[in-house]
Symmetry: C2
Amino acid sequence: MTDTLRINSDRFRSAFDSLALIGSTGDGGVNRPALGDAHLTARKWFREQIESAGLEFCTDGAGNHSALLPANVIAREAKQSPTLLLGSHLDSVPNGGRFDGALGVISAFEVLRTIKDAGIKLKFNLEAIDFTDEEGTLVGLLGSAALAGHLKPEILESPRGGRPALVEGMKRAGLSDESILSAARPADSIAGYLELHIEQGKRLERAQVNIGVVSAIVGISSYQLTFIGRADHAGSTTMQDRLDASLGASAFTLAAREIVLKDFQNCVVNVGKMDFTPGAFNIVPAQVDVSLEFRAPNEDDFKQLDSALIERTQLEAKRFGLDLKADFRGRHSPTPMSDSVQRAFADTCDALNLTHTPLTSGAGHDGQSFANICPVGMIFVPSVDGASHAPREFTEWRDCVNGANVLLQTALRLAK
Amino acid sequence: MTDTLRINSDRFRSAFDSLALIGSTGDGGVNRPALGDAHLTARKWFREQIESAGLEFCTDGAGNHSALLPANVIAREAKQSPTLLLGSHLDSVPNGGRFDGALGVISAFEVLRTIKDAGIKLKFNLEAIDFTDEEGTLVGLLGSAALAGHLKPEILESPRGGRPALVEGMKRAGLSDESILSAARPADSIAGYLELHIEQGKRLERAQVNIGVVSAIVGISSYQLTFIGRADHAGSTTMQDRLDASLGASAFTLAAREIVLKDFQNCVVNVGKMDFTPGAFNIVPAQVDVSLEFRAPNEDDFKQLDSALIERTQLEAKRFGLDLKADFRGRHSPTPMSDSVQRAFADTCDALNLTHTPLTSGAGHDGQSFANICPVGMIFVPSVDGASHAPREFTEWRDCVNGANVLLQTALRLAK
């Protein structure tokens, strides 16, 4: 009977804690932006763990790192068997938390070790994968989109983190535009994609529920806005004579929040950064670059919010006599999760006596990349105080173990 | 008769144009932040010009560079004679214009050469001086305050450009806190201070007047404000659960402008820079640092505007649940110019058949540093379209020559 099989909590924790030291910020957080030194060190560590565990190590042209457990058939057939992917990512946002992504990769790895140790026969290959640049320091969902075969070359030409950062990162990791685009796999080689992740919100904690079964991932879109005024002496130029780029940027930032609070209550918007040019106490700002991102749970809201925000940028620019550029930086549509995988997760939770609830994901995830080519499912475990993308991000260890066991048992349901 | 003496326009222009090549940004502007490489190159060039012209070169512990023309008395008495300072600064704001400061230094130098060539006897020493860091990239009015003896050591500990930038700059220039503070001269050694500068506003151009005789320099004050919220995942954190530092910074930026437009019509305010931490598309901003500067023509408005702005920072921080720090970064009181020097300038303009008008200066200038120790006066020449602190800053050459001749004849009136 495989129903009673459980992951090894101590081994799981030991791997999780070792990983958290790589790029540690000393306050519980990690700083591992995609293809930076700390991220590449984490990947080297992951490769060593895979090889020590006696699993097969694989990598591809997009830099994705995997542990492979072949289907229990003769070698030639194993290569032809479809693969059930379990995974997440080892990169972090700047000064992020140690659970986001890392939990999903380490739990997938632990699931493979547990199944390997138990000698269970599988009809699918099982692969625990660490996708490149989920967070979007460079591109966003880079490794999963490349693997799923729908990464467009123009996205690499104008990535949201800027082309120079991508070129630097690819150079450090030994990648190229060509190698990344070559990482695409045939759709029929992928049997499905499962991911365990922290919720990054307060809903499970408030409801005191063990497991969130994700029903859909919100759509996410980003723009680099540029408000353009004129540099002038900040003492001798009257207030009336100024074309101050900070006014458009500030007014838009406040207006964007009001628009969402008033008309798009299931959506969110973020102005994560502004850059002032030239940026001195005594010069009227000539240019302010604004990093804008917004998310919506369905296609209707997504399109309407896009229009409302972009119209508002134009209105605020005009109001202060400014020019405006709005560079589109990428978009992922709202993605419903597979019904059959959602049922399998729910059934597993019931079998393990864990409470569960359907949830939308406010965050983007690599699963979006596979939605059109295979069944995709995700589960969430509770985030203490909802914190994420920050060093205080935390999930109780028993919740991490619950999530890993649901992942294990659901993978067995699907792959046996 | 010295009344007919005029500066050498060609020699003046040749020096001005040579200087404009140092740190040139290729679009008419210069980038010579104080004690940066381009600024130090400009100072080296100035020293060579002084020595080639047969004038005495002097420098001091604050890095001020001067050309000296001794009083026409026996050498021992010259050392005891008071000195009439003529000057300005060779540093620029980042990507600033080629006239701001440079015109004042090069015209003062040309005045000394003209008087030396004419062999005129003077009762005062004449000194053409380039003051360190007028613009405030590091401290603001650094060289003139040091020379006037009222630079406080604590200003050097917490300068508006940040201590690391000051330390780097001092290192490049071979200066130290101690050397800067040692540059103070006895008040009775300074007979007066005269400066020619571009207006940096549109008033002379609109009124079609040749020369502005400055009646007062506005007071200027700066703060580094920090709005402190909390970093959170920008997708999974609801709008209501956020503590978004960008909202306080943006609301204050808009409010500061409204306060000035409504209640302080002779004043100006500038938010020249914001810095976002951590600064990513998908993280709610945890901290926004805001560079605030404001100016007022008299002490009453200056104090009331300070209170109004600082109260508003607190109100906006509170409104969005943010913490706030307001680090005071320096203050210069409003400074009336000497009545007798204003009269001397006006009489000179009349003698030269140049139209003139009294003006306040919306910009700060080194003359502020000397207001309590000697007679101080400034004249402005018209700025085309009022532009300044930007590459399109421009003054017609005939206006530069007019200004230099008024400086020459007024210096002769005072120093003979």
